[in-house]
C-alpha cells in the first residue's frame, strides 16, 4: 500500500523503520553504554572505582562460564547464585500471591472480613519490609527462611491491595446479570467476580514480582550467605565494583525475565482484553 503523499507510485516508499524493526528499543541503552565506556576509558576516574562496561561484561562472563577466574571464588558459579535467589523469589512470591489473592478477595467480597481483617493488615502495610530483618533473623536464623519471609512481606501487600480493588470495582451490573441467570453465592464468586477482578489481580502480581526481587537481594545482603545479593555485598567488601555491577545487571535481567513470564501468562489468561495504545492496537 502506498501512502497519499507518494509522488511516484512506482518507487516503493522509503521505510527506515522496516529495516530496523524492533531495534528502536536498543537505541537508548546502546548510547548509554557507549558513553559509559568512553567515560571510563578517559581516565577521569580510577578504573577500580568505575569499571568500564567491557570490564563488567568480562566479570559477568567469567562468573557465568568460569573461563579465566577473574571473579576468583565466584568463577563459574553464576547459575548456582542466580538459582538460589530465584528460588527465594519464587517461594516468597508464590506464598504472597496465594495468601494475597485469598485475603484480598475475602476482604473485597465480604463485609465481615473487611471489618475484621482489613484494619490489622492495613496497619502492617506501612511498615517497611526491611525493618522486619532483625526479627526475621531471630526467628528464622541465617538461611533461606528469613529471605522468603521478607520477600513474602514485600510481595503480599501489592497483591492484597489490587485484589481488594479488583473485587470491589466489579461492575455491579455483571453481578445483577449473574443473579438474573440464577448464580448462587459460590458461582457468583468463581464465575463472575474472580474473572472480572483478574486484570487488577495481575497488575498486583506484576508489582509484587518486582518487590520480590528487591527484597531477595536486600535479604541476601544481610541475612543470607548465598545468592546474587550476597555476591554483590561480598564483592563490595573486596572493592570489586565490576562484580557489583555484574550482580546488578544479573538482578535486573532476572527481574525483567520474571515480569516477561508473568506478562505472557497474563496475555494468555486475559486474551479477551484488547490492549490498545494511543497509536493503535498492539498485538
Amino acid at each position: 500500500m502506498t501512502s497519499v503523499t507518494d509522488v511516484s507510485p512506482a518507487k516503493p516508499a522509503f521505510r527506515p523503520m522496516r529495516a530496523f524493526q524492533g531495534l528502536e528499543r536498543l537505541v537508548v541503552p546502546a548510547l548509554l553504554i557507549a558513553g559509559w565506556e568512553a567515560f571510563a576509558r578517559s581516565g577521569m576516574l580510577p578504573p577500580a572505582l568505575l569499571p568500564a562496561p567491557s570490564a563488567v561484561l568480562h566479570a559477568l562472563g567469567d562468573w557465568v562460564f568460569g573461563f579465566d577466574e577473574t571473579t576468583q571464588t565466584y568463577s563459574g558459579h553464576w547459575l548456582r547464585d542466580a538459582l538460589a535467589s530465584a528460588l527465594r523469589v519464587f517461594g516468597g512470591f508464590a506464598l504472597a500471591s496465594a495468601l494475597g489473592i485469598l485475603a484480598g478477595v475475602a476482604i473485597g467480597w465480604s463485609r465481615l472480613f473487611e471489618k475484621t481483617l482489613e484494619p490489622t493488615l492495613q496497619m502492617l502495610r506501612p511498615i517497611p519490609p526491611v525493618s522486619w530483618i532483625p526479627l526475621a533473623i531471630i526467628w528464622f536464623g541465617i538461611a533461606d527462611k528469613p529471605a522468603i519471609f521478607l520477600v513474602f512481606l514485600g510481595a503480599f501487600f501489592p497483591v492484597l491491595m489490587n485484589s481488594i480493588h479488583g473485587v470491589k470495582t466489579v461492575d455491579h451490573n455483571l453481578v445483577r446479570a449473574g443473579a438474573m441467570m440464577g448464580a448462587n453465592g459460590r458461582q457468583m464468586l468463581t464465575d463472575i467476580v474472580l474473572p472480572a477482578a483478574l486484570p487488577s489481580i495481575f497488575a498486583g502480581l506484576r508489582i509484587a514480582v518486582g518487590s520480590a526481587w528487591m527484597l531477595t537481594v536486600t535479604a541476601e545482603m544481610v541475612a543470607v550467605k548465598s545468592g546474587l545479593g550476597y555476591v554483590l555485598w561480598d564483592s563490595y567488601y573486596f572493592l570489586r565494583y565490576d562484580i557489583v555491577l555484574a550482580a546488578m545487571i544479573s538482578i535486573g535481567l532476572l527481574g525483567y525475565l520474571s515480569d516477561l513470564g508473568l506478562k505472557a501468562i497474563m496475555a494468555r489468561t486475559l486474551r479477551w482484553q484488547q490492549t490498545t495504545t494511543v497509536q493503535g492496537r498492539a498485538g
Binding site: R176, M180, G182, P195, A196, W272, Q274
Partner: protein, 258 residues
C-alpha cells in the same frame, strides 16, 4: 391470572444528602397479561426503571406486592430474563458462552451448552460471530447477545430497560423490527422501558404512560395496530397524538402547580 401483577407498589428512596425521603413510585397497580408486549413510557426520573428492577428482583418495593406467575418476587431469578441498558456481558466470555452462561451455572456440559446456544445465535442473526468476545463486536451485536442470553433461559417474562438507547438510529430501527419478529415467533411476555413515544408505539401492544416523579400510571393505552406498523399511517398518528396529549397535560398540570 395475569403474568405479572403489581399491587399498590410504593417505593421510597432515602436521600441522605437532602435529609429527606424521595417518593419514587406512588401506588402502582398494573396487570400484565401473558404474551403482552408492554411498554413503560415516561420521562427520565419517573421511576420506570425502578419499577422494572422491582419486577426483576434487583430492588424491593417499600410496600406493595409483586407477583410473577402468581408467585411473590423475592430475588432475581432465571424465570425473569433481563436485558440491560448496556449489554452487560461477561467480557471474558465469547458470544456463545455469554448466551449459554445460564446453562453453565446449571452444570450443563459444554457440548450441549453450545448446541443449545446456537439456536439463539441464529435467532438474533449472529452466526459467524459466536466465538467473538464482546470487545470485538459492535454495541448492536452485543445487545443482540444480551437478548439471546435472556431468551435462552426461556423465562416467563423478559424485562428490557431501554436496551436500544445507546444505539444509532438505524441500528435501533433494525433491532426494534427484529425484537417484534422474535416476540411474534416465540410468544413471550415483554416489559419494555422507554422514554421514546415512537419506540413505544412501534413495539408495544399496551403502552403504560407514567407521570413525572412521583411515578404514577397516567393511563394504560391498548394499541393493537397490526404489524408491521406503518409509522406514517393515520392510526399510528392518532395514537401518538393521544399519548403526546397525555404527556403535555401532565407538564401543564405541573407548571400550574408550581
Amino acid at each position: 391470572m395475569a403474568a405479572i401483577e403489581l399491587r399498590n407498589i410504593v417505593k421510597v428512596f432515602s436521600d441522605k444528602r437532602r435529609g429527606r425521603d424521595l417518593l419514587t413510585l406512588d401506588n402502582i397497580n398494573l396487570d400484565i397479561e401473558a404474551n403482552d408486549f408492554v411498554c413503560l413510557l415516561g420521562p427520565s426520573g419517573c421511576g420506570k426503571s425502578t419499577l422494572l428492577n422491582i419486577i426483576a428482583g434487583f430492588e424491593h418495593a417499600t410496600s406493595g406486592r409483586t407477583l410473577v406467575d402468581g408467585k411473590q418476587v423475592e430475588r432475581p431469578g432465571s424465570d425473569r430474563g433481563v436485558v440491560f441498558q448496556q449489554p452487560t456481558l461477561m467480557p471474558w466470555l465469547t458470544a456463545i458462552d455469554n448466551i449459554a452462561f445460564h446453562l453453565k451455572l446449571k452444570g450443563v456440559a459444554k457440548a450441549e451448552r453450545h448446541q443449545r446456544a446456537m439456536e439463539f445465535i441464529d435467532l438474533v442473526g449472529l452466526r459467524g460471530f459466536e466465538h467473538h468476545h464482546p470487545s470485538e463486536m459492535s454495541g448492536g451485536m452485543n445487545q443482540r447477545v444480551g437478548i439471546a442470553r435472556a431468551l435462552l433461559m426461556n423465562p416467563s417474562v423478559i424485562l428490557m430497560d431501554e436496551p436500544f438507547a445507546a444505539l444509532d438510529a438505524q441500528t435501533k430501527l433494525e433491532m426494534q423490527e427484529e425484537l417484534v419478529a422474535i416476540w411474534q415467533k416465540r410468544r413471550c411476555t415483554i416489559v419494555f422501558v422507554t422514554h421514546s413515544v415512537d419506540e413505544a408505539l412501534v413495539l408495544g401492544n399496551k403502552i403504560v404512560v407514567m407521570t413525572r416523579r412521583p411515578g404514577r400510571i397516567r393511563e394504560a393505552v391498548n394499541f393493537d395496530l397490526p404489524r408491521p406498523r406503518d409509522i406514517t399511517s393515520p392510526e399510528f398518528n392518532d395514537a401518538k397524538r393521544h399519548i403526546l396529549a397525555l404527556i403535555r397535560e401532565e407538564s401543564t398540570r405541573l407548571a400550574q402547580a408550581s
